[in-house]
């Protein structure tokens, strides 16, 4: 059973609004950079950077972060996650980092991402953008910018499809069969 939560236009509008909010909250783009969490977050970070450029005429550096080495579920996974590249081609120390992810769920990925960033230096501030907040936090983590809040049950999953992955832009809610129900992202 699947249900569409956001279509192409909804995603586009949410990102445009978030781009404006980032600029407003940070009073411009000085010392600002975007870091996307692999994989969905990286595409969204790049889209936000080009939107910010349209508005402010400034290039914002974009990095990508793989959090595999910082996860806390190493012993309970059946398979190791594929390790993707971490490319943060700038010094994070004293920068304002806008961390970008597609779905905020338990908060554990964000914890891992923050630890990974801290190992690269000492950012001045870390703010969080998520396209979807589906609830069920297991850690005291909250987003600064959110595309859409969607209350979900644990027997559902949220899938963010993006054109960069060869799919049509949309967010869908899927009901899992009982044996598929998993806890954690």
């Amino acid at each position: 059973m699947t249900k569409e939560l956001m279509n192409k236009n909804d995603i586009e509008r949410a990102l445009t609004r978030i781009a404006h909010e980032i600029i407003e909250k940070n009073k411009g783009t000085e010392k600002l950079c975007l870091v996307g969490i692999q994989r969905g977050g990286v595409h969204l970070a790049k889209r936000l950077a080009s939107k910010i450029k349209l508005i402010e005429k400034k290039d914002i550096p974009v990095g990508s972060l793989d959090i595999a080495f910082y996860r806390d579920d190493l012993n309970i996974r059946k398979e190791q996650p594929i390790v993707r590249r971490t490319e943060v081609p700038f010094e994070v120390t004293d920068l304002k980092i806008i961390l970008v992810d597609d779905v905020l769920f338990t908060g554990r990925s964000i914890r891992a991402a923050m630890d990974a960033l801290m190992d690269m230096g000492r950012p001045a501030i870390i703010q969080l953008v998520v396209l979807i907040d589906r609830g069920h936090r297991e850690l005291p983590i909250k987003s600064d910018y959110v595309g859409k809040n969607i209350p979900t049950s644990l027997s559902e999953t949220v899938e963010v499809n993006l054109v960069e992955e060869g799919l049509e832009d949309r967010v869908i809610l899927k009901k899992l069969e009982t044996e598929e129900v998993k806890h954690g992202e």
Partner: protein, 306 residues
Amino acid sequence: MVNRKDLLGIKELSVPEINLILDTAAGFKDVLGRDIKKVPTLRGKTTVNLFFEPSTRTRTSFELAAKRLSTDVINFSVPTSSVVKGESLIDTALTVQALGADFIIIRHSSSGVPHLLSKKLRASVINAGDGTNEHPTQALLDAFTIKEKKGEIEGLTVAIVGDIAHSRVAKSNIYCLTKLNARVRLIGPSTLIPDEIEGMGIDVFHKMEDGLKNVDVLMMLRIQMERQGKGFFPSTDEYSKNWGLTLERLSLAKDDAIVMHPGPMNRGIEIASEIADGPKSVILEQVTNGIAVRMAVMYLLAGVKR
């Protein structure tokens, strides 16, 4: 995709498993280039280096890999252990496990020891060289280095030169490179080329001048001094004259060929000094890549729920 407890040899690995290890190693190489060269991935785990044969490089590389992954490391070296008091191999390994080891890195002069221990132990066993059988992490780091330099391994011509018969490095590399669809050539005196090679689709050459033509990669093996005077080759001088890599011989290979050596080198015997230190040499990069590849192996073996 890697759903195994141990890394015993390349022979048992599938192509997707080899590729996953190499891709994962790229992620760890990034980590090694940072100011903080350490990740918390395997915090709380314990690694024991159980080396029944002397080794500085491999042991140090595993030790560093284990430390960069935040495991605690103990080096259990033979001369100071109970092995000299007559404790059996399996008892030693069980003792090490009882001390809380999650990873046991083992090197032994007898082929098959890691395989035997892996059946007796809950801990992950990683083969760091067993007799004349395999040295899987060396082959993986060699493949990683070739891939880094050449982009792809498929279709490359790789010459392995020297004492193939006694070399676990050569054996693991033959498995690894043929699985990845490289064309493998072996060059060396007939006494040092094993018979079982025939039928593996590998070309054998006895003269450097024939074998080195148009190769993309040269893998020089260490000539083991202890083999001297045992009838495999007349003398190191004679060996060097026939199978040593000189600038002149190297010029037969492709212009962009790379030269590898697993170390420790006998300069002036199997490889000329100016080649070892020259622009085609990737010998020191192999050392660096070894840490990343060993981190990847430990990471992929760890934490799979069994």
